[in-house]
């Protein structure tokens, strides 16, 4: 059993944040922050240094992928992007070596769990 992960989640819809939190906790990991904007995501990442970011792309204010780009400037935290839209262009930005995954909404629990495992495996491998 791998050690529990400290995960930050961002989504502007509370049902979704609650759901992700529930799954993450069931997997034995810890949700260190659940926020609803890109700016808040940057702030918690800089303060709490989570092991993994799970974020929606489209959010009020700063989008999830933009927030992650900002975070990665200081620390390449593995990331799972989730969106109802197409995968953001030029993501991840060139020259950045980081484990990441993209999931298209609606996401099934099994896919969500698999993405966490796959991203962390890649991160560990790197």
């Amino acid at each position: 059993m791998s050690p529990p992960l400290r995960i930050a989640i961002a989504d502007d819809e509370s049902e979704i944040r609650d759901h992700y939190s529930k799954i993450i906790k069931r997997l034995g990991h810890e949700v260190v922050a659940a926020v609803d904007t890109g700016n808040a995501l940057i702030e918690v990442c800089q303060r709490l240094h989570p092991d993994l970011i799970i974020t929606d792309v489209h959010m009020p204010g700063l989008d999830g992928d933009q927030a992650v780009r900002e975070v990665w400037k200081c620390e390449t935290i593995p990331t799972i992007l989730i969106s109802a839209y197409d995968q953001p262009k030029d993501f991840p930005p060139a020259g950045i070596n980081v484990a990441w995954a993209y999931l298209s909404k609606p996401v099934k629990r099994l896919d969500f769990e698999a993405a966490i495992r796959a991203t962390m495996n890649t991160a560990t491998f790197e």
Binding site: E13, E15, I16, H19, K22, I23, A84, P106, K108
Partner: protein, 406 residues
């Protein structure tokens, strides 16, 4: 519109110096030409039926030709009437418009006009050969008159073209708006679906100890899957198509498509037979997209065929307009396509299944088009469904992707 045409006609008459002299000559021309009209009208239509491209617009056989001969006689009678008022302009313009409506290229109208002119001129030459001055005057007037008439016909063509372009632009605009709306709708729906999915799965986790409720939750999940698939298809249809080509074998693509239908084949006696010659098998295609095309064929066949269902993919070389294609025939032993299905099978939202978006074949057509290929139906009377997928044959130039794959 008519006001403009009428004014234009007036200007043109002035430009050609139409005078009372011309009015006088018309009376003479009329008396010389009208007796011969039935003869050259007969000759005129005899010539038309000798030219398939022009004769194509005559669909009613001899009866229609007889009617057209009458119309042409009226046309000549009116042309030479000497009354060139607003009503005249209106009627001549309508004659032009009628030719536009039946889809006759303006070139042919011009040529037909030239032929009538030539016939009329020959009669004048013959009848006035002993009166060269009169001949010259009559010829000049006849040319002015016919040129004015041709100007009216051209105006009708120009007006129709403008109208058609305007309609097309409106239609494109409307389709673009609908497309954007649907894409937006599908995106928004995905967010709502995500909340539904989240709530359903949360419930599933909470109700792990109550297995009696699991079938209901499962049904909820299936309904959400169906809705998700519907939106995915609509988005696929609306989104621009960018191909990722690689050197692939059609047999492999078709096999993958067949294997992806395990659920649909469960409990069925269904068989896929493939006979594809090696030299036609490979091509520079988007494997993922073409798999969608084959999957769509197979899904439809499985829905239409009774067991034992036999699906066949065969291939032969084909040449169209000098271009080489590999033609893949996908046939089954089902009931085949009805007359209405044949007409609409590639239309978006057409479906014969009770469950289905009706976008499958429309998407397949887009994918095949993007490959520079063609998607067609086999001939009427084929037993079972018979689709023909034609893909261009190209030389293999290894790409970076192929090399990467080893």
């Amino acid at each position: 519109m008519l006001q403009t045409i009428n004014e234009k006609f007036g200007h043109l008459r002035q430009y050609l110096n139409w005078s009372v002299e011309d009015d006088r000559h018309i009376t003479q021309i009329r008396s010389l030409l009208l007796p011969f009209a039935p003869v050259f009208i007969e000759d005129f239509y005899a010539e038309i039926v000798r030219h398939p491209t022009i004769a194509r617009v005559i669909t009613g056989g001899d009866q229609q030709i007889a009617r057209l001969q009458q119309s042409l006689l009226r046309w000549i009678d009116e042309l030479l009437s000497g009354r060139y008022d607003v009503e005249y302009v209106q009627r001549r313009w309508k004659v032009g418009y009628r030719h536009v409506e039946i889809g006759l290229d303006q070139t042919y109208v011009n040529i037909a006009h030239a032929r009538l002119r030539m016939q009329m001129q020959c009669i004048l030459l013959e009848e006035l050969k002993k009166a060269p001055d009169q001949l010259r005057d009559c010829e000049i007037t006849l040319h002015k008159l016919l040129d004015l008439d041709l100007a009216l016909i051209s105006a009708a063509y120009a007006a129709e073209l403008q109208e058609r372009q305007h309609k097309q632009a409106k239609q494109d605009e409307r389709l673009a708006t609908i497309g954007q709306m649907i894409t937006g709708l599908a995106h928004e729906a995905r967010n709502a679906l995500q909340r539904m999915r989240a709530s359903t799965e949360s419930l599933e986790l909470d109700l792990e100890e109550q297995p009696n409720l699991h079938p209901d939750l499962h049904r909820l999940g299936v309904a959400q899957d169906d809705l998700t698939r519907l939106f995915t298809e609509v988005q696929n249809y609306a989104a621009p198509l960018a191909l990722e080509r690689e050197w692939v074998a059609i047999s492999h693509i078709a096999q993958q498509a067949w294997e992806s239908l395990t659920r649909q084949r469960q409990g069925r006696d269904a068989q896929l037979k493939m006979i594809i010659p090696a030299d036609l098998n490979h091509g520079n295609h988007d494997a993922f997209r073409l798999q969608q095309v084959f999957r769509n064929f197979f899904e439809n066949s499985l829905a239409a065929c009774k067991d034992p269902a036999i699906l066949e993919v065969t291939a032969q070389p084909q040449s169209i307009d000098g271009q080489s294609f590999a033609e893949f025939r996908v046939q089954d032993n089902g009931p085949g396509l009805s007359e209405s299905a044949r007409l609409h099978v590639f239309d978006p939202f057409f479906t014969t299944k009770t469950k289905g978006t009706g976008l499958g074949m429309a998407i397949a057509l887009r994918i095949v088009d993007a490959h520079g290929g063609r998607l067609q139906l086999g001939p009427v009377g084929s037993t079972g469904a018979d689709f023909r997928l034609l893909l261009p044959r190209v030389e293999h130039v290894p790409s970076a992707k192929d090399r990467h794959r080893g």
